[in-house]
Symmetry: C3
Subunit: 139 residues, 3 copies
């Protein structure tokens, strides 16, 4: 699907916020219905999900302590009629080894986030019967 460019936001999330909730709230407050999200920073006690196809749901790994937010990649679209951010993260520990997956939760020490709004036909997530809520697959 083809979109035109909307607004561009670059901002720091305040310390102590829960990152995923903050991004979803930002999208709602600013009425960003479609977009891309990226960022870097440092998160406390992040929880990351691994989609287990056989189980039809996410296995959640809870990390302890502070992690470098090495990459944050994702998008914003509609789910149940509201803006919804789908975000994956790579996280670095004290020795530099990386963990990551689907962002379930993470408390912000630092998060510098870029959101690029896209304008066009709405993209909506709908249950696909596998435990996933996806857009229609369409170029």
């Amino acid at each position: 699907m083809r979109f035109s460019k909307g607004r561009s936001f670059l901002f720091r999330v305040p310390e102590g916020e829960e990152l995923l909730e903050f991004v979803n709230g930002f999208a709602k407050r600013h009425n960003v219905l479609i977009g891309t999200v990226s960022g870097i920073g440092s998160l406390r006690s992040p929880k990351i999900g691994y989609f287990d196809e056989a189980a039809g749901g996410y296995k959640v790994n809870e990390l302890r302590g502070l992690y470098e937010l090495v990459s944050l990649s994702g998008n914003i679209s509609l789910k149940n009629g509201e803006p919804f951010a789908h975000i994956h993260v790579a996280l670095g520990g004290p020795d530099g080894s990386l963990h990551g997956g689907h962002l379930v939760e993470g408390e912000v020490l630092v998060a510098e986030v870029f959101i690029q709004e896209l304008l066009g036909e709405l993209l909506e997530r709908k249950p696909q019967g596998k435990g996933l809520a996806l857009w229609e697959a369409k170029e």
Copy 2:
């Protein structure tokens, strides 16, 4: 090199497609000659490359099972006169540990991909005599 912005595409790749082949095909079908690519999702049995300078080629690591596609980063330019996607990926296993490198192959369970077309002087990959095909290094 400086470019102006072309079209923006955000889409889901159908389940079962081979991701790299799909992105290359998408670029050809839509005539995207230069651009950036990013995305997230979940891949089955990905193969990732590590460039071994001494050997002058890629060592390929084959992963088994399903991995979170934690980050997909890359670009599109010309190689042998056709659009060519150069993509690196980070992949998360069930325990959240990450593997990654140059994307050689991966079957899509889910892939949500963003392509930003760039317009300007063409960028072309040419063999550099080290086993790499690169653009001219030029600001």
Copy 3:
């Protein structure tokens, strides 16, 4: 903070350059004061930082040999009145395992970098009394 789009740059950094220094120099030469940075490639002997909150500074891990630059994510803003790139990287070893964190240093074998300039009110990093230099947290 909301920005409009400036120039878009996609380029290859010459082999042998120190990556962080090159990106900072590029931003100065082209007068990019605010922007986002992404990229992929292959780095020699990268040094990556982990922010240690208790110590109020970065612990640096030095990696040896050649690593795939699996992701490079970050931004450009002002620090001490000059363009300053804040970059995080994920790096893949020969067996595909990933390390990463805050980019401190890395010699380029290959680096294909995309910089998107943003235009608007300047973002400036200021010491926050924790060993971090951050923007004001403001939507």
